[in-house]
């Protein structure tokens, strides 16, 4: 599936405090942001952008529970049905001996499952190219981007004046 090209109008800020103020102003003016890019995590940005709590840990729990069941049921099957061996005079179904391996597989499944979920949900992976609006947003610039497909000139003008008002050091547009 080929997605439609996005026309992006973005402004660059020099400071994270300026960025936070600008995001607050954008919320106040009911401007719909496409995204905000920062070179490092900025405290207080997530609630301003209206992000709800990440659901990644739910995936972590589900994968972890899968790991628990896989390890425990597999060892149960091996040591009671498939190949029963007596170790140190213990019963075939020796639960305490299973716990370390169950624990390890829980952690392994949970960890790998969360990484894979994260990559799939965010469209990352081998061979994926993600367009960067400006190389400097990975270094020292803070960026607010608007998607302007189908915007009228008046709306574009409105966004430009928003950038001017909130102190953006540069404003550019790009099609990605």
């Amino acid at each position: 599936m080929k997605s439609q090209n996005k026309e992006i109008l973005y402004g660059l800020y020099d400071d994270d405090e300026d960025l936070l103020k600008a995001v607050k102003a954008a919320n106040k003016d009911h401007l719909e942001m496409y995204d905000v890019f920062t070179p490092f995590p900025v405290h207080g940005l997530d609630p301003l952008m209206g992000f709800s709590e990440s659901r990644l840990h739910i995936a972590g729990f589900v994968f972890g529970a899968m790991g628990t069941l896989t390890a425990f049921l597999f060892m149960t099957w091996v040591f009671t049905r498939d190949w029963p061996i007596i170790f140190g005079g213990k019963p075939y179904w020796s639960v305490p001996a299973f716990i370390p391996i169950t624990f390890e597989l829980t952690v392994l499944f949970s960890g790998i499952g969360m990484v894979v979920s994260y990559y799939i949900v965010n469209g990352l992976g081998f061979g994926v190219e993600n367009p960067t609006l400006d190389d400097r947003i990975t270094d020292d610039k803070f960026c607010i981007a608007f998607q302007t497909n189908g915007y009228s000139d008046a709306e574009i003008e409105n966004l430009s004046s928003f950038f001017a008002k909130t102190g953006a050091s540069e404003v550019s547009s790009k099609v990605i």
């Binding site: 207080g44 840990h57 140190g88």
Partner: protein, 427 residues
């Protein structure tokens, strides 16, 4: 409100708890006990060790956080200071135990019987004699006095530095620099000495048995209790209108600690159990066999309360930010780890006393064949008298803690990390 007032109603509540505790201890001593007063003395040791350990580990946590350049907790660091000042009182209670060892008015520790050490004597016990270089009266006495004395000194010193920082601020933060030096010494000394003291106070009750995990395991139990007490105190103080600067974010971090250390406690509990279970050496398994057979309800309840409940309750992010459910979890865990110490102390001490009573104080390999008969409330399961004694010690601990809280402003004024604590955000 930055100045805590210790109200009359709180004082009456805590003094009432102390009175209940004293009444329960007196009742235990006079009416419901064997000739050696086992139930009374085990209750006394149990609560002494539990609360002294909490005071120790709170100071340890405070020092460790400061040395790690952590700043998030400093707006409520007075709570840590106030509770750590219980240490001299704990030393006082331990001196009573020590007096009992020298005066033979309790029989908590089997190794106090010196006839076990006479080679060729009728009571000679090879295992106890082999350990007598460390497990002896002198080590117990002077180890306890010196160790807890130094802990108490550190607690008082750190408190006075922290108060001095408020009244005499200076540009180079000399008190903070000095604080870190004392804290570094305390961490080094406390980490080693607490292990040795746990061996003396608790592990030497089951004198034939030993476990290299034990000191860690008991310390983890103290740590979870200490965090639970901190959380419960902060929620209470907030409900009274104090500590407005303590945000859900602070509870979130404390919640992560209590969740993490509950799992850590379980890890140690399980490791200690599994290695002994797998190796199946008689001299080691006897410890768990005794608990399986005579304490089976508590044995599994211990795991359920201290692992399963916090693991499931505290797993979600949002839960750690809610006062009500955190209070619930803190109370459950505090009591749960008190039960854990019950299981560390009671079985061995009760068995020792039973053997001593059956053989008139004498001992030999044959004495180990004493079969414990019947269920004894208070020795096999906590009865109302145990709960009352616990309330008494808790009342004293909180009374002294709140009195210290009232002596200084609740938030420090000049801590270099105060700004970080006031702007603490975790999500």
């Amino acid at each position: 409100m930055n100045q805590f007032t210790f109200e009359g109603s709180q004082k009456r509540l805590f003094l009432g708890m102390i009175a209940v505790g004293l009444a329960c201890m007196a009742a235990t001593f006079l009416f419901d006990d064997d000739a050696l007063h086992t139930r009374f003395w085990t209750n006394f040791l149990h609560n002494t060790v539990f609360f002294t350990g909490i005071a120790f580990v709170i100071l340890f946590f405070y020092c460790a956080s400061t040395l790690a350049y952590a700043g998030w907790f400093v707006n409520f660091k007075r709570v840590f200071e106030a509770y750590s000042l219980y240490l001299p009182v704990g030393l006082g209670f331990l001196l009573v135990i020590i007096a009992g060892i020298w005066g033979h008015f309790h029989h908590l520790y089997h190794w106090t019987d010196t006839s076990l050490l006479e080679v060729g004597g009728p009571n000679y016990d090879k295992v106890v004699a082999g350990k007598s270089g460390f497990i002896n009266k002198n080590w117990y006495t002077f180890g306890t006095i010196i160790t807890v004395g130094i802990w108490s000194f550190c607690a008082i010193k750190l408190r006075s530095l922290s108060l001095d920082e408020d009244s005499n601020p200076n540009a180079d933060h000399s008190q903070y620099v000095q604080f870190k030096k004392v804290a570094a010494f305390f961490m080094f000394f406390g980490a080693f000495s607490s292990a040795a003291m746990i061996w003396q106070w608790i592990m030497s009750i089951d004198v034939h048995w030993y476990s290299t995990m034990f000191a860690w395991y008991a310390t983890a139990s103290w740590l979870v209790s200490a965090l639970a007490l901190t959380i419960a105190s902060l929620i209470y103080l907030k409900s009274k209108g104090y500590y407005e600067s303590v945000l859900p974010d602070h509870f979130h971090d404390l919640g992560k600690y209590i969740f993490g250390f509950s799992v850590f406690w379980t890890y140690l509990w399980f490791d200690q159990f599994m290695l002994i279970w797998y190796a199946n050496n008689g001299e080691e398994t006897v410890y768990f066999q005794h608990r399986f057979n005579h304490y089976s309800v508590l044995f599994y309840a211990n795991l359920a309360i201290n692992f399963v409940l916090p693991f499931l309750i505290l797993m979600r992010n949002s839960v750690k930010r809610k006062a009500g459910i955190m209070m619930f979890a803190a109370i459950i865990l505090f009591f749960g780890h008190w039960l854990d110490f019950f299981l560390m102390i009671k079985p061995g001490a009760y068995l020792t006393a039973q053997e001593a009573l059956a053989h008139g104080g004498g001992h030999g390999d044959a004495a180990h064949s004493v079969v414990e008969s019947g269920f004894a409330l208070g020795n096999h399961f906590p009865g109302l008298l145990e709960v009352g004694t616990f309330l008494g010690f808790l009342g004293l601990f909180l009374f002294l803690g709140f009195r210290q809280l009232a002596k200084a402003s609740l938030e420090p004024k000049n801590d270099p990390y105060l700004g970080e604590a006031l702007h603490h955000h975790v999500i």
